[in-house]
């Protein structure tokens, strides 16, 4: 150890060598050093192993589709929408004060979101366990199902195609929603797992981000894009449900 030329190779040099931070000439000197100093060579190898192993951590994420909430374009347009809504909210609020009524119906209402999630989950719970009568109109009559529910909700709906995510449409039904109609589309995957998409009318200018709610094992991602609110429910983990909700979102938002 003592025959090492003083100041020739430091730990900092070795790390910089491993990380490719050294000029070629210096790197070549380090390589020669390592041949003569097996202990250092072993450490260098170990650091490389550490780097390589860490490099495999969650490497799969890099190839996964980007969730909508992390899409920069969606975030940028959401901000514009948000700013516009804030401005609109302020104007309405001032008009409201002037006219003697508040604008809270248009800018508030977390209760509305909560009840949306609860109704969607409850409908999922009731109908997804049905084997023979899970739906009112089967997927064989999809066009009829969609036009019927669109007419009752007074909004052009569509049943998203979730085949790429492994779910096929089995049909749908109409549901009561505080005296108004709501729609439920039901899907099933190869293992018989069910997913439902709940669609209801909401206040015309409510736009919310994705929200998540879980009740007794059934999770739901829901959002409002006034005048229509959506909830995707399934008995599944939050992450995979989020992925499915993204697929639905992309299709229902044109």
């Amino acid at each position: 150890m003592n025959d090492r030329p003083l100041g020739s190779v430091t730990d900092a040099d070795l790390h910089a060598y491993v990380d490719g931070e050294l000029p070629a000439a210096r790197a070549a000197e380090i390589e020669r050093w390592l041949i003569e100093n097996p202990a250092d060579a072993a450490r260098v190898r170990a650091w490389r192993t550490v780097n390589r192993a860490l490099g495999t951590l969650h490497a799969d994420i890099v190839n996964q589709p980007i969730p909508v909430r992390l899409n920069p374009k969606a975030i940028a347009s959401g901000r514009r929408r948000h700013l516009w809504r804030m401005a609109a909210g302020i104007v309405l609020f001032m008009v409201g004060i002037g006219a003697g009524w508040g604008a809270k119906d248009l800018v508030g209402g977390d209760a509305e979101e909560q009840s949306l999630a609860s109704r969607a989950i409850s409908a999922h719970r009731v109908y997804s366990v049905e084997v023979r009568h899970a739906v009112e109109v089967a997927a064989a009559e999809e066009a009829h199902l969609v036009s019927w529910l669109s007419k009752r909700l007074d909004h052009q709906l569509r049943a998203p195609d979730l085949m790429n995510a492994g779910f096929h449409l089995i049909g749908g039904r109409m549901l009561p929603n505080n005296g108004k109609p709501a729609a439920q589309f039901m899907y099933e995957d190869g293992s018989g797992r069910r997913l439902t998409l709940y669609v209801a009318r909401c206040q015309p200018n409510r736009v919310t981000a994705f929200r998540y709610e879980q009740q007794d094992g059934i999770g739901a991602f829901y959002w409002m894009d006034g005048p229509i609110a959506y909830a995707v429910s399934a008995e599944s983990g939050r992450e995979s449900l989020h992925m499915l909700a993204n697929v639905v979102y992309e299709q229902v938002e044109r």
């Binding site: 430091t10 650091w47 860490l54 951590l57 969650h58 920069p72 992450e239």
Partner: protein
């Protein structure tokens, strides 16, 4: 503007992954990335084409994360250890799997700033200069954090318990 957003988008996969390893929780990671992107997009006028966009985004994420860690320091962690240890290990063939698990556990024992330096090199292949920008410290500090962190990981993986021998220049 469109170019900016496309360039940001190109960085999202690596931001997600780094956040995932850093926070050890999928939801917390995406929340962190979302906060980072919202901040970046709202401050895009501050982005001047000096240095890489990636380093700028990582800088923002680093700051958001540092704030969260500081905030959490006075409150109990909401993520249980069970979540962390079971899901952090990428499935792999047995031998490697064990090593990775050890490594993840060891990684958690490192001080935050060493862990960041080690991860920015291993996951992102960042240069020391970029890491200095991201973590807002001089390059010399980056090098010593990296050296200490990586050497500690090596020691823990070897089952080494005695303090690392330090070479005097």
């Amino acid at each position: 503007m469109v170019d900016f957003l496309s360039e940001v988008q190109d960085c999202v996969p690596s931001l997600r992954r780094y956040a995932r390893v850093l926070t050890r929780n999928a939801d917390a990671a995406d929340d962190l990335v979302q906060d980072c992107l919202e901040r970046a997009i709202s401050r895009r006028l501050l982005w001047r084409r000096k240095g890489s966009l990636r380093a700028w985004l990582f800088t923002i994420m680093h700051n958001v994360h540092a704030n969260q860690v500081r905030y959490r320091a006075v409150r109990p962690l909401t993520v249980g250890l069970d979540d962390v240890t079971t899901e952090s290990v990428t499935p792999a063939d047995q031998g490697v799997g064990l090593t990775l698990r050890d490594l993840v556990v060891s990684l958690e024992r490192l001080p935050e700033e060493q862990r960041q330096a080690v991860l920015l090199v291993a996951l992102e292949g960042m240069s020391y200069a970029e890491i200095a920008q991201v973590t807002d410290v001089p390059i010399g500090t980056v090098m010593s954090r990296l050296a200490r962190g990586r050497e500690a990981l090596r020691g823990m993986m070897d089952g080494e318990t005695r303090p690392n021998l330090r070479r005097v220049r």
